[in-house]
Amino acid sequence: MRDVAIVGIGLSRWGEVWDASLRTLWTEAALAALDDAGLDRVDSITVGSMTPGLFVGQEHLGALLADELGMAGVPATRVESACASGGVALKTGFAEVAAGLADIVLVTGVEKMTDVSGDECTAALAAAADAELEVFYGATFPGLYAMMARAHMARWGTTREQLAMVAVKNHRHGALNPHAQYRQEITVKDVIESAMVAEPLTILDCSPITDGAAAVVLAELGVARTIAKGRPIVRIAGVGQATDRIALQSRADLTTLPATTLAAQRAFKMAGKTPNDIHLAEVHDCFTIAEILVIEALGLCQPGQGGCQASSGRTALGGAIPVNPSGGLKSKGHPVGATGVAQAVEITTQLRGVAGKRQVAGARIGLTQNMGGTGASTVVHILEVAS
Amino acid sequence: MSVGIVGYGAYIPRRRIRLGEIAAVWGADAATYERGLELHEKSVPAADEDTITMSVTASRRALARARIDPSSIGAVYVGSESHPYAVKPSGTVVAEALGTGPAVHCADLEFACKAGSEGMFLAAALVKSGEVQHALAVGADTSQGAPGDALEYSAAAGAAAFIFGSTNLVATMEAQVSYMTDTPDFWRREYMRYPRHAGRFTGEPAYFKHTLGATRMLLEKTGLQPKDFAFAVFHQPNGKFPMRAGKVAGFRREQLEAGWLSPWLGNTYSGASPIGLTAILDLARAGDRILMVSYGSGAGSDGFVWAVTDRIDEVRAAAPATRDQLDNGKLYVSYGTYAKMRGKIRMGE
């Protein structure tokens, strides 16, 4: 297997972008990444997008978007894994370079979520849950995560305030991120008193609806060194992917994320690293409880201890292991298919030392964790500054 | 060959609305309605309940008491004036939910409030003819009264189910009659949402003529007299009518009380006298005779004489008692919630 590096990163406009279509957003991000890499040709393209069919009535994105860049003819693959579509697009691109099928791959993720009504958006997202066993009976995403929250609170004594602190922390980080969708700081009281969505989760426990696209350019390490322009070269040291049963009722334990644990083990093994080696992480905080469950599953803290990580400051900027320095899905935004790629954009920015006010000091090894639905698919990447 | 009831079951929704709640909204005097109709509160089906759901639950309870294999059921009749579909039977859903298998004659019936007893009449006759081993008859309704109309105070929801057979009976059917004329006392035209009624014309020339007519037919056919019965139950559109019919027919109040549920249940339409019968079966003893006369506007009455067997003591406890469902676990709703649940609020397009 060959070594793979990230040589370019880019983001489109991010938020409620009324005047940009899916194609336009994607092209913005793709060009930004290509320009950052100083490249104008690629061997292959991957596109992560959860459900452009339901959002904008458009499938066949690989071919459509390659043409948008004037690159018709280049092989292009759309991948889907619900909210982990971006992470899987990254893994797919990584695999093509590692296997020698391509030297340069443009990895992208995109989601255009505001061309539908709120109800239609909710219904589209619900397709990540089990349509016949969960959604048919009235389950919503916040509802499913709320049940996991209740189970975690019952088992470990995690408190409502600890959930809220995850949102507070991530907003504090997002305030330092010029690209974040929501840059205002919030308090625990704000979170708890905001509108109830599914008990105990309120609207401020939930990540927003966001339009956006993200892109990274991967290159075989040797090629990367020739175009580095003196910047630190970021290498993908490890990748891990795993699945779990989709419906919550099928899981043995509602307080853990086995797919995340498995994916992380596989990534750590490939990278020759342990959780203690990680300096910072971008994880999938689609809901506040998700971040708590994920950091336990990754081994960044002990089982049951996830609740006090944000409230103690351990996972805040300046803490022992900053989690979601970008503001996470909560504050930065969550254009579903783009998120997994945007996480890689953030870690790369951090490892290059150009994250400005939200820079994690001494960042050399970072981790991204991207998951779909209530954790039934997960992909973990470990990124490291190459020597 | 004897024919009769092998298993019975009733379902009454948990929610109730008090007449005072309804009267307050329409500027009516609650006490006048309560006295005049002898009604205090009525059952309200939740938005997730309908004639089909109630029929399924009542039928499952009948099956629990019957202790038969559902595949031995050869006919399923659901009588209602509030079938969820105008075209597509309620009965097929009930049959499918019970697991009868496909060898079933199935029909939905309508005859205003006597659609339930109508199914019982047919079920009994089909078993008697030897055509089927067991036949299921259900009377269920979630009928509506127009907002502010007198019927809104009484229109309620409930279901009763009876499995008929010729062996292991809990009650033998000693006689069945039907008395019918064309009498337009209460009706609903196709595509109209609420029924209409002819005021006082619904009394003597309609309800009383047919219930008393059927009662006379039954007594003549069997040679029995009111004193030979432990219990009698009549169609109960309100609290007053069944008591008056019973008295005129020669029954004492004590014979009428066990089956008299309407003051606290309302008028369950096709479920009315059938549910009343289940309440009687919950406490009747071997040898007791029961007279049951239904009434459906349009108009007609089905009448039955039942003789309780000792098997009833073995199976009675296999499903919830009717009185228990009526009296316990009630959830009261406001008129606003009632109107929302019953689809009486004009929603956005």
Binding site: D119, T122, Y137, G138, G143, A198, S250, L254 | D48, A97
Partner: protein, 132 residues
């Protein structure tokens, strides 16, 4: 594309109407609804089993912002309920103030309307849990 397409709805009747499950002949694990491959032992032979309707609440939430199919039912309690044989289902808790739902609550499954395709489309029936 309607989730209440008649063919799609009718296919689920054995499990949604009669609680029919599949017991793996290899390892005895009961899958509900029935499936082709056993999730425990990957066996492919099953016997039909009928689930008993009694169970208890494992975890729950109260949904205040519902999907359009359930918009006017909010707030409603949604729970993961455990039946006998270790079978778990996701369902609403009906006929109970949502504030009174708690883990361990004994429930019974009852036949109810789950969804309908507008005023003119198909009605989809299934089970909800009511306090036992």
């Amino acid at each position: 594309m309607s989730p209440l397409n008649p063919a799609r709805v009718a296919r689920e009747f054995p499990s949604r109407y009669r609680l029919e499950a599949a017991r793996c002949e290899g390892c005895g694990v009961v899958s509900f609804p029935p499936r082709v491959v056993c999730p425990a032992c990957r066996g492919r032979k099953f016997a039909t089993a009928s689930l008993e309707p009694e169970g208890k609440v494992l975890t729950w939430t109260v949904i205040h912002v519902g999907p359009s199919s359930h918009k006017h039912e909010v707030p409603y309690a949604l729970a993961v309920v455990e039946l006998a044989d270790g079978v778990r289902i996701t369902c609403q808790i009906a006929d109970l103030d949502p504030a009174q739902v708690a883990p361990g609550l004994p429930v019974r499954l009852e036949f109810r309307r789950i969804q309908e395709d507008g005023e003119a489309g198909v009605i989809a029936y299934g089970h909800k849990a009511v306090p036992a």
